[in-house]
Symmetry: C2
Subunit: 209 residues, 2 copies
């Protein structure tokens, strides 16, 4: 266990995938798993998985592998998934509504607790169990609900401004659906969800057929 070296971001990005498979294995009543079998499910080499886990501790037993539930608990703890996270959403257009309606966040501990929009016609509307708030309530709500994570679903031209405001209000992690590369200060993390660039990169391999 290397306590002091920074852990590569690629490693952190893989951990949630381990979490997901471990949950599947629990469903399947599997109580023990080897790095080999875990890797097969994820198309990741066994050595890679062992190396990744070794950044955080020694969770396996030679000759047996890993206890599924034990490893899951460790990973949940490491990733900070052993608690609830309040998330706010900015942008309640078509996409924002789909995000509010998406049932996949809550079971993983991410509760969308506030939604904001700039459009007068949208502010005040009820969407799901949320009432859309005006942007000038951003700071107060983020503080009162201890929000550290935001989802941005506004048009590209407003995304950087919105992100600036979120960062000012203390948000540290942003899931950005707008097709821009946001500029944020260090200490703030942004992940982009961008189906179009994914499609655009895959066409490279289809080019000549």
């Amino acid at each position: 266990m290397e306590e002091f070296a920074a852990i590569p971001e690629v490693v952190i990005l893989r951990l949630p995938r381990y979490v997901r498979v471990l949950k599947q294995l629990i469903q399947e009543q599997v109580s023990t798993v080897s790095s080999e079998r875990l890797g097969q499910r994820l198309n990741i080499s066994a050595a890679q998985i062992r190396k990744d886990l070794s950044y955080f501790g020694r969770f396996g037993k030679q000759g047996q592998g890993y206890k599924v539930e034990g490893l899951l608990n460790e990973l949940n703890r490491i990733l900070g998934l052993d608690r609830q996270w309040n998330v706010c959403l900015v942008g309640v257009g078509r996409l924002g509504r789909a995000i509010i309606g998406y049932p996949g966040f809550a079971p993983e501990g991410f509760q969308i607790t506030a939604a904001f929009d700039i459009t007068p016609g949208i502010v005040g509307q009820s969407v799901g169990r949320l009432q859309v708030q005006a942007m000038d309530e951003l700071a107060r709500t983020i503080k009162s609900k201890a929000v550290r994570i935001a989802i941005v679903a506004v048009p590209a031209e407003h995304a950087q401004d919105v992100i600036d405001r979120l960062v000012e209000c203390g948000v540290r992690s942003i899931l950005n659906y707008a097709p821009i590369t946001a500029q944020v200060p260090s200490g703030v993390w942004v992940r982009n969800i961008d189906p179009v660039t994914f499609l655009q990169s895959m066409t490279y391999y289809l080019r000549e057929e």
Copy 2:
């Protein structure tokens, strides 16, 4: 220009981002750009951009940089974006409907031309300008519309089966919204869109606060 070495996938994944910024620059009436300025917009080093582009040719001029429009055309050609792509969607639930309604695909040349579902109550419905088709029409439609790209928006438990069928029907690129690691034969590309794992990786950095 290295004609024979395989081009790293990370490079291919960056090219669409260059395309996006170049389009922005055209909007802003900028006709010439240096790797330095391009990099600032994308948080990518100038050297990286030059190296990436050098895999494909020599598009710049020393002392001046790159012609925005010229470089954009080259990248569009390289990525196969100088044409229309027919895309099919499988899974017309809440998420699938949001995807059909998403206005970002068509302007980039991706036309959703067919939608499929397994649920009797959904098959036959009109969604947007599409009529939802039954799964047994998959093969015929994919052939007749020359579909090479599919979007999968079915529940996790059906995703692998759906992907298997798509691959059988000749689909080579899959944008997968289901939270699974799909197993596909070589020659088929899958990209996953997974907001939850993104959130789960960001909480690592928020853990102790």
